[in-house]
Subunit: 338 residues, 6 copies
């Protein structure tokens, strides 16, 4: 077996779920979700450290690492109601970005081809390129919309003379046709990048980008309603890409390019839940958690909970589909129990 | 005199209020409030450090330690309008939880018996067991409702083979009859613990637990209205137990079992104020402040301000009762002055 | 040339804008904005460190230090659409507060006299005295209102036997007549200082102080509407003074006198934007960023973004005036582009 | 299988060595060394955190977790030349010290009885009581001398009313007869504890304690010569107990009761090597690594390297015995290679 | 009573020794040692924070704050064998250096006049001016030599236009005649300050300054022999001034102007012990401990132990003088006990 | 002009020395030393962050950034007695190691070709490949010996499938012929890497590697005597490569691959001084300072002082050669002054 394990630290799995080996298709046959680590910060333009993101996200929890997490809110166990496996980390040489990204694309493609949802733990956001491409390789280029939570558009062209990096994956995805510009929904943008030329490029490709001013003015729910409707218009699946820097750096300091004025952790968790509950999600990544800049692990915990929230909602969605039920957010925790 | 002082560090009092000695009843006769330190982390299931909580909460303030704190918002001085004393820390051997908790129960019982409101500074949440029991020893078992702010239900049964710990006090309280299950109001729960079996137990005992989803959906005020009405239905007093982890770990990192997606500090302070202003509070504890994981003391400051907010509101409640006045939150700060 | 550069560290400018020299008036003739560092913590009553504030605020950014920052939200570049220069730091001996503040007053007066808007980077809040006085020296004593974001009123009288310090500048300003008490608008106050005597003094001078309780009850927008209307009633200009501790310490830990229960970063940024967009701002200071207590630079980033938000809004205001346009906060980011 | 794994975090082994299960004797039959985690800080008198010590010591390494570590200096691989297994953590309820220590004694006794050397990763120093007792249960009470590196004598009597804690294990060991007082060799003591009464008790039992003054005056090597000779005089084996606070806190800050003026890391590593190379070591513990107080993991790294140095020297000792060779510390690294 | 207490934090005493009040001479009549806090960083040229030094030094200990510390090495209790009192902090307005230093001079003069040894806890090194002057006011200007441990000569002339600051006290002392240049012994200097002009001034006044190169080349003991002989040549007493930055910043990071390549903590403790044991010390200060830059309190602990080492050696010196004994550093800890 | 400035942060120079532009040869014609930043961590196998090393090393100093640093010990000013310029950072895309290293080689070659000594600030140790190659391009391949201070041999072959990285530069240098294996002198190695195969390769190439055991046994001075003699045997110049991890991580925590048991800071500074004073040094690099893992900047300060020590010794060497003098380490600081 060639399972690589964790590239930076001991070989653990996400909260203790079972392992699988990407070189051994039988090991993940029938999986609902396969977690893949992408421990890479070679695409970072500023503070590094996301190479330790997969390890930190996998273990940031005070409960036993027993492969089970019953959600209070959703009344499902996202780790046991689904069949969730962890494939370990893709080997990503930090100084060889093209080779590193290609390895991720192979891994994600293999997972998607097996019918499972890949959940990729970054790593910097340059991995969105192979993440979405890998999913599109299976579901069809242009058939997967992207719901992208981020402070930054990540649609830069060439930086430091390179086509690849954490500021550019969305442009590469649209240029290659893996994703459609007019099904690219960005939520939480703010600050002072990119400049007008890049914004013009984005507009020309039809992206719909919700800057924080619009979100504050109209409300996050209204923006989400709109974006989620677009995401399933003439697309077969949705890729959810969560850059933890969409949250205000005061609440999520452990990241590389912090931009004040973001969402709260609560808002992000609720949005992730809603998307995975209501839309046909076919892939997820959670990126830009940088442990060396974190404080008391709060950002790693947030990354862990974004993953759990997504998995719990996916499980809830399946349960509701199976049982014909509808989840009610106003229902009291203990209602119907005892 | 046998005053123990501070178990972990120099012998100080909460912001400089006068001392008393629990072994010398005369020293706290006539007190309105007696502060008691419970420097214990032997009940913690994950990150320790709350043994330094009492010391940190007592001193986290940039103003002089002069035993006076005039509240801008409430126009009273919670430390001088009431007679507030500090009894120092209860001696709590970290490795002997039963003996440690018994010592707290004796202390709290003595304070309550003297007609004062005990304000216990934790320490991990295992101290809620002796805190509430001590108050109930005076006011009557089952006669005191509990308003419990927390990310966690703390209703676990046996953990690590022990009946005692910071995940279990609420169960022990209800089992013993010190507190009634159907007057146990929990606010801020979230995450992935406890599992269905424990939730069933809670439901069977009639707890009312407000998970964050319900709070976000209905609004915190609406949930508080409901919980506060229940708290005074057929009970003579209210115990307010504040686990600082009810606040989002991004704003309150210095705690042991952080769960993303919580309240803001502002919400917690407003809720504590409202409860102490409107309800017959007979005991308070503030727990789970863990200084080794704190950042720039922000969590210790929050703990200190939760105590001050409670004391200020208690003083305001008495002043309003005495003077026939009603506090108006919309009144401008300087209105009626000058 | 006598340009002092940075007193504490290498000589850099705010995000790479061009330099000027306050001893050489030609070097800033025609400037729209001159940034001045006031690296001083000799007025701090508790945690020091703001001497490193100017350096931290100048460089807290993950983008290139190229003197350009196109605002996504406002569609202007606050650093290039305006002529923005950086004069370096005023030399401020930490143990000689009167001499240090006098040097700041000279610097700010010179900038205002040249027709530019001084943007002063603190330093502790004692610099508000020379900042506002310097502006009033040009625009007329009593002709400039003050919009003051802070957890603290900063209207103390004598502390540690001194008339000067970060708890007293607002009193000195009103006593001297540089600012009118009844055009002093304070937003975000909370906590336990000052006491009744000082509050009475404030009321007698006609200050309008919005404590957080009023802000939560009425809404920040309603309070701002009122304050902003007052600010331009019989005044020719507005000075905006932003103490970063107006934000909750959970989101902005790097400051000296943290008071839980504050605004969010998002609220502060939006308020600063609105004020600079709608009012005739003639001076700005951003104070109390204390790097030694900061975490992953989040508070320095916030200080940097407060400055950028102010400059962007100033540029937007001029562009709208020039072009007869009106900025619309609900307009989508990419609307009208491409 | 009942392998507990890691009590606080994911289930990993020391640098990737194979696992065993203490409840399954076959799983460690034939082992040379069995690593046991004792994640306990319930015996700590001051700063806690050593419950995370086993996990931190196991993984503090920048190399791959592949179960192999060829020592440059000793020309052996301590992890593969010996058969080294990791049994995971003993379950130790933090608030129940007697039950927790009893569990460790059972584990260590089982390992020793199987003919393996137990290497126990603390945890606070209260575990020395079950560690040495467990070894003595197999080798004979009074037949194992103790070489004890520490800033503190750990010979206190009753503290906080308890017989057990990290300041008392050595007294309990001598009182019980598990270890002989006159074969108890303490190295590195300093500071202001214990007082004369306890020192008299120690002298009466014949302990030989090397305070830092004697070590500086005579030289560490001379003291070690003397202590090591005593250790094998009428004893069959040696237990090596290393409290990381023997090293100066400036170099090893991550510990609970730091006492300035200690050894350097280099001195400790050399002493551990020498003891394991020259003496019949039958048990080892490495205690008091407290990750929450650590800095850039330097103390955890030191703990990891103390373990590796011990294992490497044990392997070298066996190789030299087998091959009739003698290790020469002055031999150049590459001598004889190529 | 006018005891000021602690200016920055709660009112505590050094490890629990009794209080006295400098405004009440009876309260310290007959004292051997009076501890005085000088919480000042207004003289610091770079990183501030020493205002919290006195509080940190007073409490950095893991043992009970009981006013007793029996020294293992010296077999005395420096806190009880001597009569040691703590006068609290002198009130020092951070922005008014001249007034602040004058207050310290009054305090130290009063202590010395009462026949006690002042032990001043800094604060930055600018306090050496009033510390030594205060002692000289009693013992005679020019009659007290100075043994000065520091990375820096602190003999600068005017800085930032001021005569006072932490880089200049030694010059002011020699200029005023309070101390003689040729009885000024400096140990541990290194780095790149001051420049030739100041060095020439020092040479002209006859200072003897041991730079680290000389110390490494000749050995610290040889340098100390020489310096200590000079210190008692035609002087009646010795002032010991310890700047904690004499220790390598790797071991003592919590300071404002770190200079790599210094002594070890062990060397400093041994040197302080030797000086207080062998010379007629009449005053001590321990300065430049800056808690905001400290790590796990290691520098505060070092400051605390420097004080204890000095007090223990003073007590040992008196005991030896009284009993005709001589302390032997090679004597084993337990020798003569039991 | 194409001067790049600082890639990560504002454009500053080493302690304020003048700038030059590598694309403008006239700008550094006649320079003695040109400082070059190599802000790269794409070759790091574990903790990243060295991309911020050049910026941190340039500014880690409490003195004014005035381009002057008179050495107390060496009585020269390394920044003004030599002509020292700073070329800013080479642009190094983090994910493209081959392109990044090639850019460094061009820069170093240009500096060496101009007759100046390049002093390269890392960055991770992968830059030693272009650093030494660049110097050898001018002085002749095989004509420059290498004195290499490091905990690690850095002679690995292929890692993560790449020939380039911070564990391999020394192998690449010897393979290419840029440096001779038998003039490669390694000082400070320790720990558990590389394995026997690589050690055999090293021995076969004739490297002389001083592991810490040999250094402790024989003394650092004796090892240096031997290594320095070899370095100038049949070589024309010496390249000094200093990996800051040669120092014990307890004293230099801010690095990526810490290995306990290293040199002290004092030892490293003295060794660097001696080498630059006694040998014909033609190039220097200082690598592996990783600010995100640093504490109170102590490792950055050490890096800064290593550079200054080297420059001061180079200046002293030239002055001695010019004046026929010999520097005496035992000479008192003030001897011959005044």
């Amino acid at each position: 077996m060639s399972r690589y394990g964790s590239q930076f630290g001991p070989d653990i799995t996400f909260l203790g779920v079972p392992r699988c080996d990407l070189d051994d298709p039988a090991s993940f046959a029938g999986a609902d979700v396969v977690i893949v680590g992408a421990p890479f910060d070679g695409g970072t333009s500023h503070r590094p450290g996301t190479r330790f993101g997969p390890s930190a996200i996998r273990q940031a929890c005070y409960l036993a690492h027993d492969g089970s997490r019953p959600s209070l809110a959703l009344r499902v166990d996202g780790l046991t109601d689904l069949r969730v496996l962890d494939a370990g980390d893709v080997e990503m040489p930090p100084g060889e970005i093209e080779r590193a990204l290609a390895a991720v694309e192979r891994a994600v493609t293999a997972v998607a081809a097996a019918g499972a949802i890949p959940v990729v733990l970054g790593g910097d956001h340059s991995i969105a390129l192979p993440d979405v491409t890998g999913v599109a390789n299976h579901h069809g280029h242009g058939r997967v919309s992207v719901l992208h939570f981020d402070a930054h558009a990540d649609t830069g062209d060439i930086e430091f003379g390179s086509l690849y990096g954490h500021g550019q994956p969305m442009r590469r995805l649209i240029e290659s046709g893996a994703a459609r510009g007019d099904r690219f929904l960005q939520i939480g943008l703010r600050g002072y990048w990119p400049g007008p030329e890049t914004l013009d490029w984005m507009a020309a490709r039809g992206l719909r980008s919700y800057e924080m001013t619009e979100i504050v003015t109209r409300g996050l729910d209204a923006c989400l309603d709109e974006a989620m409707a677009l995401a399933v218009d003439d697309c077969d699946g949705v890729f959810l890409s969560v850059d933890v820097d969409v949250v205000d750096p005061g609440m999520a300091p452990g990241t590389g390019t912090p931009e004040p004025g973001g969402l709260t952790s609560r808002q992000l968790l609720d949005a992730v839940r809603r998307i995975c509950l209501e839309l046909p999600v076919v892939g997820v990544d959670v990126v830009e958690v940088s442990p060396p800049y974190d404080v008391a692990e709060v950002t790693a915990y947030l990354g862990n909970r974004v993953v759990l929230e997504a998995l719990s909602a996916l499980a809830r969605r399946r349960a509701d589909a199976r049982d014909g039920t509808t989840w009610d957010p106003a229902r009291p925790l203990l209602d119907g129990r005892g």
